[in-house]
C-alpha cells in the first residue's frame, strides 16, 4: 500500500477523522484470495484515503459508496482474471457498476467476415466496407444476433469519435488504418485489414463501459451508410482552449501510475512517429537501391547479348533487386503499419489522460468553490442578526457547490479507477502488438532474404561452369560441387550453421521458389531451345558457354 498519504492542502479541513479507519476495517472482510486483485485493492485504498481526505462533513455517504467501489473493483478484477465467483454487492452507488458484474453478464461478440472496397479511387482506399457478424446479450440491442452487418469505415470513424469523447473513463481503442502498404488490391491487404478490425472489435468488447454505451447498439442496428451518432457529446475542451489548457502544468496527481503514464505514452507516441519516419526512409532508400540494382543487372544483360552467362547473371541481379523491393514493401507493411496503430492509439490515450487532467482541474476549482461557500455559511452562523433569506441563499449555494464537487469527485474516481485498470491492459496490448509486428517483420525478412539466397545460389553453378580453373577454385575450393542443386538451404536445415535441429519457420519449398522464377526460367528456356539447334555447329556459342565472348 502506498503508505504515505499524499499531501493535501485541505487536510486540516478534515472534520471526519473516523471515516478512514472505518473504511479500512471494512476492507479486509471483502478481500479476495486473488493475488492480482490485491494490487488494485491497495490502489483503491489509496483512492479512498485521498477521497476521504478531500471530503468535508457532508461526504459521508460518498465514502460509503467508495467502500462499495473498492469491493466492486475487486470483484471485477477477480472476475476478469480467474472467473472467481464472488457475489457483487448490488448498489446504485458503485463507482464502476459496469465492471462489477461477476461473470461478464453482458457480452458483445463480433466476427469480422469480410472487407469490400468499391466506389471511387480514394473511397476504395480510405473508406472500405467492413462486414461482420455480431451476437450480444446487451439489453441495448433489439436482437441477439446480427448477420452480415455492413459498415463503412466512415461510420466506424463516427462511432469512434463519439465514444472517445463520451466515455472519458476508458481508453477507447482507435481504429486500425483503412488500408495497408501491401496495396489495396492484394489479398494480403484484405486479410490484414480484416484481422486488424477483428482485433479492434476484440479490444472494444473487452471494455464493459464501451459496450454498454447505447451508441454501440445504434451503430450496429443502423442501416449501412446511415449511421451518425444520435447522442451529442461535447468534448471537455477543444480547439484553442484545449491547446491553452495543455500548456498549463498538469495538476497534482496522487496516482503515480497515471501521473507517470501520460509522459510515457507521449514519448511512445513521439518516438514511434519518428521511428516510422526512419523506417520510411530506410524503405525509400532501399527502393532507390533497387532501382540501381536493376539498372546494374540490366547493364550486365546488355553487356553482351549473346552471352548466356552475362544474361543470366544480369537477370539474377535484377531479380535480387526485385526481391529487395519486396522487402522494402514488407518492411512498411509489417512494421510501419504496426507502428501506425501504436501512434494513433498512443495519441488517443494521451488525450484521454489529458481529459482526466482537465477534470482534476475542474474538481480543484469546485472544491475551492465549495470551500468558499462553506466559509460563508460558517460566517453566517457566527453572526446573530441574520437575514433568513441570505441564509437560505447561502445554504443553497453551498449545496450546489457540494453537489458539483461530489459529482466531479465521483467522475474523477470513476475515471481514475477505470484508467488504472485500462493502463495495464493498454501496456500489455502495446507490448503484444509491437512484438507481433516485429515478429511478422522478421518472418517476412527471413523469407525474402532466403529467397534472395536461393536466387544467388542458382546462378553460382553457371558461373562456376564457365571456367573450371577460375574463381574460387583458385582459392583451393575445388570441393564445391558443380551441380545445380547446390543450395545451402535444405529440409535438413542450413548448411552453414551447426545447429541441425533448428528449422526455419518458413517451409523450404516456399523459399526455393521466388516470384521471379517464371520470368527467369521461361526466358532462359526459350533461349536454350533457340540455342540448342545450333549448339553443335556453332563455335561461337561454345565460346560463349565458356564465358568468353568471341570478339
Amino acid at each position: 500500500m502506498t503508505s504515505a498519504v499524499p499531501y493535501d492542502p485541505y487536510d486540516d479541513l478534515d472534520n471526519n477523522p473516523f471515516a478512514e479507519p472505518q473504511e479500512e476495517d471494512s476492507e479486509p472482510a471483502a478481500t479476495t484470495t486473488d493475488g492480482s486483485s490485491s494490487m488494485s485493492e491497495e490502489r483503491v485504498g489509496t483512492e479512498q484515503t485521498a477521497a476521504s481526505v478531500q471530503d468535508n462533513g457532508t461526504a459521508n455517504n460518498i465514502q460509503n459508496g467508495l467502500g462499495e467501489e473498492g469491493n466492486a473493483t475487486r470483484s471485477k478484477t477477480s472476475n476478469e482474471h480467474n472467473e472467481n465467483q464472488q457475489p457483487s454487492q448490488p448498489s446504485e452507488r458503485v463507482i464502476l457498476p459496469e465492471r462489477s458484474d461477476e461473470k461478464k453478464k453482458y457480452t458483445l461478440l463480433a466476427k469480422v467476415t469480410g472487407l469490400e472496397r468499391f466506389g471511387s479511387a480514394t473511397g476504395k482506399k480510405e473508406n472500405p466496407t467492413i462486414i461482420f457478424d455480431c451476437s450480444t446479450n446487451l439489453p441495448t440491442f433489439r436482437k441477439q444476433q446480427y448477420k452480415n452487418v455492413k459498415k463503412s469505415y466512415e461510420e466506424f470513424h463516427q462511432l469512434f469519435k463519439y465514444l472517445n469523447v463520451a466515455i472519458q473513463e476508458s481508453f477507447v481503442p482507435t481504429l486500425p488504418s483503412a488500408y495497408t502498404t501491401f496495396g489495396i488490391n492484394s489479398e494480403e491487404d484484405r486479410m490484414k485489414v480484416t484481422r486488424n478490425f477483428q482485433l479492434w472489435f476484440n479490444r472494444l468488447s473487452q471494455d464493459p463501459l464501451i459496450i454498454r454505451n447505447e451508441e454501440v447498439a445504434f451503430f450496429i442496428e443502423s442501416d449501412f451508410n446511415t449511421y451518425t451518432p444520435i447522442n451529442k457529446s461535447k468534448s471537455l475542451a477543444s480547439g484553442l482552449k484545449r491547446k491553452t489548457l495543455k500548456q498549463l502544468a498538469p495538476p497534482y496527481d496522487e496516482i503515480t501510475e497515471l501521473a507517470e503514464f501520460r509522459p510515457l505514452v507521449k514519448s511512445i507516441y513521439v518516438v514511434s512517429q519518428s521511428l516510422q519516419e526512419k523506417l520510411l526512409r530506410v524503405s525509400r532508400n532501399r527502393k532507390m537501391m533497387v532501382q540501381e540494382e536493376n539498372a546494374f543487372g540490366q547493364d550486365f544483360v546488355n553487356l553482351d547479348e549473346h552471352n548466356k552467362l552475362y544474361r543470366r547473371y544480369g537477370k539474377i541481379l535484377t531479380a535480387v533487386g526485385d526481391i529487395d523491393s519486396i522487402i522494402a514493401t514488407m518492411d512498411m507493411a509489417t512494421l510501419y503499419d504496426g507502428l501506425e496503430w501504436i501512434v494513433r492509439d498512443a495519441y488517443a490515450v494521451k488525450e484521454a489522460l489529458t481529459n482526466r487532467h482537465f477534470i482534476m482541474r475542474n474538481l480543484v476549482q469546485a472544491q475551492q468553490n465549495s470551500k468558499a461557500k462553506q466559509e460563508q455559511a460558517r460566517r453566517f452562523r457566527s453572526r446573530r442578526d441574520i437575514n433568513p433569506m441570505k441564509i437560505d441563499e447561502a445554504l443553497r449555494q453551498l449545496k450546489a457547490a457540494a453537489k458539483n464537487e461530489q459529482v466531479l469527485t465521483l467522475k474523477l474516481q470513476r475515471i481514475t479507477s477505470n484508467m488504472i485498470i485500462e493502463r495495464k491492459q493498454w501496456i500489455s496490448w502495446y507490448e503484444e502488438w509491437i512484438r507481433s509486428s516485429i515478429k511478422e517483420f522478421t518472418l517476412r525478412k527471413i523469407e525474402y532474404e532466403r529467397k534472395k539466397l536461393t536466387l544467388l545460389e542458382r546462378v553460382r553453378s553457371d558461373i562456376r561452369k564457365a571456367d573450371e580453373n577460375g574463381g574460387l577454385s583458385r582459392l583451393g575450393r575445388h570441393a564445391v560441387s558443380n551441380n545445380n542443386s547446390d543450395t545451402s538451404q535444405t529440409l535438413k536445415g542450413d548448411s552453414w550453421t551447426g545447429e541441425s535441429n533448428r528449422k526455419s519457420q518458413i517451409p523450404i519449398n516456399k523459399i526455393a521458389h521466388t516470384e521471379f522464377d517464371d520470368e527467369l526460367f521461361t526466358e532462359d528456356d526459350g533461349y536454350n531451345s533457340q540455342d540448342s539447334d545450333t549448339t553443335s555447329l556453332n563455335a561461337r556459342h561454345a565460346a560463349s558457354l565458356l564465358g568468353m565472348s568471341t570478339k
Binding site: 510515457l264 514519448s267 511512445i268 518516438v271 514511434s272 519518428s274 521511428l275 526512419k278 523506417l279 526512409r281 530506410v282 532508400n285 532501399r286 532507390m288 537501391m289 532501382q291 540501381e292 540494382e293 539498372a295 546494374f296 547493364d299 550486365f300 546488355n302 553487356l303 553482351d304 552467362l309 535480387v320 501496456i427 502495446y430 507490448e431 509491437i434 512484438r435 516485429i438 515478429k439 522478421t442 525478412k445 527471413i446 532474404e449 532466403r450 534472395k452 539466397l453 544467388l456 545460389e457 553460382r460 558461373i463 564457365a466 571456367d467 577460375g470 574463381g471 574460387l472 583458385r474 542450413d494 552453414w496 550453421t497 533448428r502 526455419s504 564465358g547 568468353m548 565472348s549 570478339k551
Partner: protein
C-alpha cells in the same frame, strides 16, 4: 617435395659436380633431390638459352642507344673485358644504361653509403657487379676470411627467421654453403682471368635467388643492421642474379597479383613451358606524401622494387603520378602493338583526398605489377629507368626526347597515341623529317591553298581491325555504363546503411522508454540486429567496390590501352598513305626528268625518291608488324580480361551469397531468441 625444391635442386646437383673438391658440406638429402630433378635441370638450361637469345634481341633493338656516349660509359668497359659469349650479352642487356656517376660512387664510397641508410645501399647504382666484387676481394684476398664471413652469415638467418621457417632455414643453410663455394672459388681465382668460366658459374646459380630474395626481403624489413660484412656478402651474391630466372611465376612472392599468378601456375603445370618467362619481380607503391606548395603541389609515392633485373636488385625511388603517365607513354612508344597496363585516369579536382590517393596508389601499383609480370615489358629500359633513376625529371625528359615518344606532353586520353618518327624511321632520317615538321607536314606543304579534299586518307583494309574496333567501342560503352550503375548501387547501398543505423538508434530510443523489461530487451535486440545489418551492408558495399569496381575500372582503362594500339596501326597506316602519295609524286617527277639523267636536279630528285622509298618500306614493314602483333595481343588480351572479369563476377557473387547467409543468420537468431 614441393615445386620449389625441384627448382632449387639442380643448383646443388651441379655444384656437387663442380665444387665437390672444395666443398663436402652439401648434405646427402640434397643429392637425392638432385637425382629426381635432373629433368628440371635440363629444362631450365633450355630456358636459359631462350632467354639468352632474347637478351640478344633486346641488345639489337636498343642498339642506337649505345651510341649515346653518356649512356654507354658504364656498359662499354664490361664489353671489352668479356668474350662475345651469350652470358656477356645477357650481362650487357640486363645491366642497362648506367648512371655516369655510378663509376664515381663505386667501390669504397658505396660502403659508406650503405652504412648511412638502407635505401642508399640499393639506389647507389653500382656499376658492374663483377668489378665491384674485385674491389672487395682484393681487400680480403685469402679464402679463409671470406669463409669466415659467410660462416657468420649462415648463422645470421637463424636469428632473423622464426622457428616456423625451420624447414626453409635448413634449406637456406645449404644454399649458403653452396654460395660459399662460389665465393671461395671467386676469391681463389684472380678475377677476370677466366670470364667465360665465370659466366658459366653464374649460369648455374640461376635458381638461387628464390631463397636469397626472401632472405633479403627479411633483411630489409627486419632489423636492418647494414653491417659491412653483410654488405660484402650481398656483393658476393649479386652477380648471381644478373641472369633471368626460370619459373618466375612460381617463385614470385605473394605480392604478385594472385589471379594471374595462380593462373600462371596452372598454365605452367599443364603446358610446355612458354618460350619466354617473366623474371620474378616485386614492386610496391606506397607512402603517398604531399610535396610542394601552391602551384607545384603534388603527391609523391615511394616505389620500391626488387628483382634480379635491377642491377642492385633493390631500388627505392619516389615518383609522382605524372611519371607513371610518362612510363605508360614511353612503353607504348617502345612496344608498338602491345597492350600496356594503363595508369589511372587524370583527375584535376579533389586529387588530395585520402580515398582518392589510396585508390590511385592501388591502381598505379597494379599497373606496375602488371608491367613487371610481362616478360617483355619488365625488361624495358625505360621501365628500369623509372624504377631506379635518382634524377628522374631530367632523365625522363631526355629519354622522351631521344625516342620522340612525346611522353612529356601527355594527352589526357589514354587511347590517343603518338607515333615517334625516331622509332619509325631511325634517328637520322627522323631528324630530317622533324625538321620539315613531321611526316604528314610534307603532304600539307603546298597543298594547303588548293584543297583539303586531296589529302590522302587511310582506309583500314583489314576487316579484323574494323570489326574489333567497333566491338571494343561497344564494350567500352557498356562497361562504362556498368561501372556507373555499380557506383550508383554502391552509393545507394551506403545511404541505406546510414538510414538503417538511424532507424536502429531510434528503436533504441523506444527501448529506453522502458515500458516493460521484455519489451525493452526485444527492442534492444531488434536494434542490434539492425546495426549488424548495417555493418554487413557497408562491408558488402566495400567488397563490391574492391572486386567488381576495381576490376571494371581496370577493364575500362585497359580498353583505352587497347584502343591505343589500334590507333597506332591506323596512324602508321596514315603515314604510309602520306608517304606513298609523296613517293608517287616524286616518281612521276622523276619520270619527267628522265631524259637528262646526269643533271644535278635528277640526281637530287632520285636521292629524295630513294629516301621516300626507304621510308615507305620502313613504314610498311612497321605497319604490318604492328598489325600482326595487335592480332596476337588482342587474342590474349580478351581471353585474359574475360577470365578476370568472370573471376570478378564469381568473387562478388560469392561475397553476396556469404553476406546473404550472414543476414539470414542474424534474423534467424533474432527470431529464435526473441520471438
Amino acid at each position: 617435395m614441393d615445386y620449389e625444391d625441384n627448382l632449387e635442386a639442380p643448383v646443388w646437383d651441379e655444384l656437387n659436380h663442380e665444387g665437390d673438391k672444395t666443398q663436402s658440406l652439401v648434405s646427402n638429402s640434397i643429392e637425392s633431390i638432385g637425382q629426381i630433378s635432373t629433368n628440371e635441370e635440363r629444362k631450365d638450361n633450355e630456358l636459359l638459352e631462350t632467354t639468352a637469345s632474347f637478351a640478344d634481341k633486346i641488345d639489337l633493338d636498343s642498339a642506337p642507344e649505345w651510341k649515346d656516349p653518356g649512356l654507354s660509359v658504364a656498359g662499354n668497359p664490361q664489353l671489352e673485358e668479356h668474350d662475345n659469349s651469350k652470358a656477356d650479352d645477357l650481362i650487357n642487356s640486363l645491366a642497362p644504361e648506367q648512371d655516369p656517376i655510378a663509376d664515381l660512387k663505386n667501390s669504397t664510397t658505396q660502403f659508406i653509403a650503405t652504412r648511412e641508410s638502407g635505401g642508399a645501399l640499393f639506389t647507389g647504382n653500382a656499376n658492374s657487379p663483377l668489378v665491384f666484387d674485385d674491389t672487395i676481394y682484393d681487400a680480403n684476398t685469402s679464402p679463409n676470411t671470406s669463409k669466415s664471413i659467410s660462416g657468420r652469415r649462415s648463422g645470421k638467418p637463424r636469428i632473423l627467421f622464426d622457428s616456423a621457417r625451420a624447414q626453409r632455414n635448413s634449406k637456406r643453410n645449404h644454399s649458403l654453403k653452396a654460395k660459399r663455394t662460389t665465393a671461395s672459388d671467386d676469391t681463389i681465382k684472380t678475377p677476370f682471368t677466366d670470364p667465360l668460366k665465370k659466366a658459366e658459374k653464374e649460369n648455374e646459380f640461376v635458381e638461387e635467388p628464390l631463397d636469397d630474395r626472401n632472405e633479403r626481403r627479411e633483411n630489409n624489413e627486419g632489423k636492418f643492421t647494414a653491417s659491412v660484412e653483410k654488405n660484402i656478402l650481398e656483393q658476393v651474391d649479386r652477380p648471381l642474379y644478373n641472369l633471368p630466372q626460370t619459373g618466375a611465376n612460381i617463385s614470385s612472392p605473394a605480392e604478385v597479383e594472385e589471379n594471374s599468378e595462380k593462373f600462371g601456375k596452372t598454365k605452367i603445370g599443364s603446358k610446355v613451358p612458354p618460350t619466354e618467362k617473366a623474371v620474378a619481380f616485386k614492386v610496391e607503391v606506397k607512402d603517398p606524401v604531399k610535396v610542394g606548395e601552391l602551384t607545384s603541389i603534388h603527391v609523391e609515392y615511394t616505389v620500391i622494387s626488387e628483382s634480379s633485373l635491377l642491377e642492385l636488385k633493390y631500388a627505392q625511388v619516389s615518383r609522382r603520378y605524372r611519371d607513371f603517365r610518362w612510363l605508360y607513354r614511353q612503353l607504348q612508344n617502345n612496344h608498338w602493338g602491345k597492350v600496356i597496363p594503363p595508369p589511372p585516369e587524370k583527375q584535376s579536382v579533389g586529387s588530395f583526398k585520402e580515398n582518392f590517393i589510396e585508390n590511385r596508389r592501388f591502381q598505379m601499383e597494379s599497373m606496375l605489377k602488371k608491367i613487371c609480370q610481362d616478360p617483355v615489358l619488365q625488361k624495358d629500359k625505360d621501365f628500369l629507368l623509372f624504377l631506379t633513376s635518382d634524377d628522374f625529371s631530367s632523365e625522363s625528359k631526355k629519354r622522351a626526347f631521344l625516342t620522340g615518344s612525346g611522353a612529356i606532353n601527355d594527352s589526357n586520353d589514354l587511347s590517343e597515341v603518338r607515333i615517334s618518327e625516331i622509332q619509325l624511321l631511325g634517328a637520322e632520317d627522323a631528324a630530317e623529317v622533324l625538321k620539315n615538321g613531321g611526316i604528314d607536314a610534307e603532304s600539307h606543304k603546298g597543298f594547303m591553298s588548293i584543297s583539303f579534299s586531296s589529302l590522302p586518307k587511310y582506309n583500314e583494309a583489314d576487316e579484323f581491325f574494323i570489326e574489333k574496333k567497333q566491338k571494343i567501342d561497344e564494350l567500352e560503352d557498356n562497361l562504362k555504363k556498368l561501372s556507373k550503375s555499380l557506383e550508383m548501387v554502391d552509393t545507394s547501398r551506403n545511404t541505406l546503411a546510414a538510414s538503417t543505423e538511424e532507424f536502429s538508434s531510434m528503436v533504441e530510443t523506444l527501448a529506453s522508454l522502458n515500458v516493460s523489461e521484455p519489451n525493452s530487451e526485444l527492442l534492444n535486440n531488434f536494434a542490434d540486429v539492425h546495426k549488424s545489418i548495417k555493418s554487413s551492408l557497408e562491408r558488402s558495399s566495400l567488397q563490391e567496390t574492391l572486386t567488381m569496381g576495381v576490376m571494371l575500372d581496370d577493364y575500362i582503362r585497359s580498353l583505352a590501352s587497347v584502343k591505343a594500339i589500334f590507333n597506332q596501326r591506323s596512324k602508321l597506316g596514315y603515314f604510309l598513305v602520306v608517304i606513298e602519295n609523296d613517293m608517287n609524286k616524286k616518281h612521276s617527277q622523276l619520270g619527267k626528268l628522265g631524259q637528262n639523267i646526269h643533271s644535278e636536279k635528277f640526281r637530287e630528285m632520285r636521292k629524295e625518291f630513294q629516301t621516300l622509298e626507304r621510308r615507305y618500306n620502313l613504314t610498311k614493314k612497321q605497319w604490318q608488324a604492328v598489325g600482326d602483333k595487335i592480332k596476337d595481343e588482342f587474342q590474349g588480351f580478351s581471353t585474359d580480361k574475360i577470365r578476370e572479369f568472370r573471376n570478378g563476377m564469381e568473387i562478388s557473387l560469392e561475397a553476396a551469397i556469404e553476406s546473404q547467409k550472414e543476414c539470414i543468420e542474424l534474423w534467424e537468431t533474432f527470431y529464435q531468441t526473441n520471438l
